[in-house]
Structures are given as C-alpha cells and as structure tokens.
C-alpha cells in the first residue's frame, strides 16, 4: 500500500526465495568473485555477437534463480525485466526462451530495483505468488550502443565507469524462506544539467539523494535503521558527491554504512575500470550475489539498495541534452523479527 508520497509498503512481506547471478571475466577477477553462481571466462561466451552473449547471461541467471528457488519454471507467473539495449532486446529474447508472461521495463541501471519493486508489488497485491525479476548488462553491448566500438582506441577520462558484464535474477514469492522485501521507494527524474556521458556518477548522485530522502520521509525511517545503504553505480565520483549532499541536507548518513555497488564489484585500485562499475547488472549482481548472502548469513539485518539510472540515449546527448537520472530504493531485511 502507498505510504507517504512515493513509497510502497509491502505488508504481506513478499520473500526472495531464490536468486542467482552470472558474470563475465572482469567481475570474476573482482573481490566478489566467490559470490556469483557462474563466472564466464570469456567476454563473448562463445556467442556470435555481444548481444547474444548478454542474452545468454540473463537466460542463465533466470534459470539458476528458478532452480535456487526450488520451483518449476511453470510456477513462475510473471517475469519483470529490463536492460540497457535499444528496445530492451536482451530481456525480450530471454523472455522468449523463458516462456512466461512478461512485463518489460526500462530504467537503465536502476532496472534491478525497479523490477524487484514491481515484482514485490505484484506479489503483495495477490496478483501472483511467484514473480521473477531480472536484469542484465554487457560491457561490450553498452560500449557499442552508447560509446565507441569496443576495440576503438579512445582514452577514457577518470570519471568514466566500466559497464558490468553480468545478469541477476530473483524469484519473489508470497511465502517461503528467504530475505523479505519490506518496502520500496519509486524515484522521480532528477536532472541538474550534467551533460557529460563520461561522468554519469555525478549526473546520478542528486537522483539517489532525492530518493533516499523521500524514502526516509515516507517511511519515517532513518539511516540508522539500516545496517547498510548502497547506491547502484555512482562509483568513485558520484558516491562521495551523494554522501556530501545528504550530509548537507542533515541526513545522518554516518549512522549507517553507506556504500556503492560500483565500488564493490571491482577492485577499483587494481582493475582498469576508471571510477568503478556501472550498468544494470552492477547493482543486480552485487545485491543478489553478495548482499543477500550476507543478509542470509545474519551479517546484515536490514539493507536499502538504491539503484541509480542515467536515462540518456546516444541521440539525446549528441543533441546536447542533459542526462535525466532516476533512483529506485528497495528495503530488504533478514525477515526475522
């Protein structure tokens, strides 16, 4: 049900009964390697195109998530998914293989939490008992669509980010064992006029701040109520900006641990990823691969994942438009009161 202005409170306590992550080689060389279900050693994954490789990641993550949930594919009533490709082709094609009713969404890199929030809403409303949420991204498809050919020799500035190759999927169910989705805050578009597509962290930081504050205003919670708050992919430039803005607005962020998935998925010092990770899969693989494991182990009791998205297109930035940004927050708890 609606709480405050833009938050959903899931009083039926939908449960994430199974989740899975599949990643590429760079993520497999990162600090969270052990947390992923499958690491592909090659970027092409023996597929004929980058797009096919991205699709494969999502198909595998969905399949593993259903297996980990210990249900049959036939029990999945809806699949909610999105990605970065034009016309979200990775999801539409993966949904073709999946063969379940499909809701395609686009939220750029905020898609991970957008789909989890929607899946939880469907379950909470009683419109489905098993709903799959998923997203994916591939470094090379993103480079190809948004920037230059992958092998083109252009120097990236230190503010640029490295798109995560991977996919994450989760089965949200009305009943079962697993972390509980407590509530979600749906973000507004925030655009403070940053035009540089190589500095998306700075462009997205105000959107994350807006959603985090709206979440606290709507739910009456404070940062101290969470053991960990993570943003999706603000990385080395955007994340400190978001923290500064929150502290300026008197949000006591020092009461919690405030991290960023884009800084967790890679070893930013050693791996050549400029400011850190980005892409739909960034927050998806960190949340579903790493954070939910920590929640299940009891290391974290309650977390807030604020997935951030830069809703630009190659067309819009070439026409000189600024970058509209969004963030969606989902609160997940261990479920034990």
């Amino acid at each position: 049900m609606l709480r405050g202005k833009q938050s959903w409170w899931f009083e039926k306590r939908p449960v994430i009964i199974g989740e899975a992550t599949v990643v590429g080689p760079d993520e497999g060389n990162g600090p969270l390697a052990a947390d992923f279900d499958l690491v592909h050693p090659e970027l092409d994954m023996q597929q004929k195109s980058w797009e096919k490789a991205e699709r494969l990641l999502l198909e595998q993550a969905s399949e593993f998530a259903i297996q980990n949930a210990r249900i049959d594919r036939g029990q999945v009533q809806y699949y909610v998914g999105g990605d970065l490709m034009n016309q979200i082709i990775s999801n539409s094609f993966a949904a073709r293989s999946l063969g379940v009713p499909y809701i395609g969404v686009f939220g750029a890199c905020s898609t991970s939490m957008e789909t989890l929030a929607l899946a939880s809403l469907i379950v909470n409303s009683g419109s489905g008992s098993h709903v799959l949420a998923g997203t994916c991204s591939h470094n090379c498809t993103a480079e190809k669509q948004f920037r230059y050919p992958t092998e083109y020799g252009s120097q990236k500035p230190p503010t640029a980010q490295y798109t995560v190759t991977g996919a994450g999927a989760a089965v949200v169910a009305a009943e079962g064992e697993g972390p509980v989705v407590e509530c979600a805050t749906i973000g507004k578009i925030v655009d403070l006029g940053i035009k540089d597509p190589f500095n998306m962290g700075a462009a997205m930081a105000p959107a994350a701040v807006d959603t985090i504050q709206a979440h606290f205003n709507d739910t009456g919670r404070s940062p101290g109520d969470y053991d960990l708050i993570v943003t999706g992919d603000l990385a080395g430039v955007g994340h400190p900006i978001a923290k500064d803005l929150l502290l300026q607005n008197n949000v006591p962020m020092n009461d919690t641990v405030f991290g960023d998935c884009g800084l967790m998925v890679y070893d930013v010092e050693k791996q050549k990823v400029q400011a850190g990770g980005s892409g739909c899969a960034c927050s998806a693989v960190v949340t579903y691969g790493h954070l939910l494991k920590r929640v299940k182990k009891g290391e974290l009791n309650r977390i807030l994942v604020v997935a951030t998205g830069a809703l630009l297109s190659p067309l819009s930035y070439q026409q000189g438009e600024s970058i509209p940004c969004i963030a969606h927050a989902v609160a997940i708890s261990a479920g034990k009161e």
Binding site: P149, G153, P158, A202, V209, I241
Partner: protein, 163 residues
C-alpha cells in the same frame, strides 16, 4: 487506499541550483594531468613515427625504392600493424595510456575503421561492415576534405601553393 505518512518532510530538499551543482560536481572530478598526458602522447606518437621512418628506410635500402616510392608501402605496413593490434585487442589498451599519441598517426585512423568493422560484423557484410566502417573515420574524411578545400583557397589567394 489509506495513506499513512509518518514524519513527512523531515529532510530538506536539495537547495542547489543546477548551475551551483554543476560547479560543485566539477570540483569533485579527479584531476587529469595534461602534462603527463602530453608526455605520453609525445612518446607514443613519436615512437610510431620512428617506426614508420624505420620501415621507410628498409624499403629504400633493401628494395631500392626512392623516398617517394617508399611512402605508400610504409603507410600500408603501419595500417596493417594497427589492424593486427586492433584485432588482437591490444590497440585500445595502448590508447587508454597513450591518448592522442596513438589516435593522431595513421594507425589511429586504421584502428577507427577496423574496430568499427569488427564491431558491426554481426550485422552482416553490407549493412554491418560496409555501413559502419566509416562511422568514426567518416568525420575525419569529411572535415579533412573541407579543411583541404579552404587551405587550397588560401593558397590560391596568396598565390603560394600548387604549380
């Protein structure tokens, strides 16, 4: 639907204007050393030119070509090397370090065409490779031709260039 709102608007809204935010964000960008970038570009760009010179000398001394005759095969060899390095996935990594040093010489031009051709091979030989090969290089050719046209006019006016 009932709405329950606890402690609404506890935190104040963003008070920065877009202009203020943009200059604030600018201060948060990691510094980029122009000097170090220039040195790297000079070293790598210079090295590519030295290599070109060496290849040309080989053509002159081993194959008995004149300097003028040797220039075309020299460029062809450099292009071939660039295409091989691009195909092996090395050129883009060199470019991240070298910046303009690997972009400006003819090897950079070859890399822009080869990388686009490789990238769009999955869309077929005609619309994929053929249609996209000049995606990046096309701009260089267009503005190179336009610039040559104006330089030609300047030469005509000053009576300097040509015969």
């Amino acid at each position: 639907m009932a709405t329950k709102s606890k402690g609404a608007q506890r935190f104040k809204k963003m008070s920065m204007s877009p202009k203020e935010y943009q200059s604030f964000a600018k201060t948060k960008e990691p510094p980029r050393s122009i000097f170090a970038n220039c040195v790297k570009a000079f070293v790598v760009g210079g090295a590519i030119c030295v290599l070109g010179q060496a290849i040309q000398e080989l053509f002159v001394h081993l194959m008995g070509m004149s300097n003028e005759q040797a220039s075309n095969p020299t460029v062809a060899v450099l292009i071939l090397l660039s295409v091989i390095l691009t195909s092996l996935g090395v050129y883009d990594k060199l470019a991240q370090w070298a910046g303009a040093g690997s972009a400006v010489p003819v090897t950079g031009f070859a890399n822009s065409m080869c990388s686009a051709a490789l990238e769009h091979r999955s869309e077929g030989l005609v619309l994929g490779v053929g249609g996209n090969m000049f995606k990046l290089a096309g701009a260089v050719i267009v503005y190179g031709t336009v610039a040559a046209f104006f330089v030609g006019i300047v030469h005509l006016i000053l009576g300097t260039g040509g015969q």
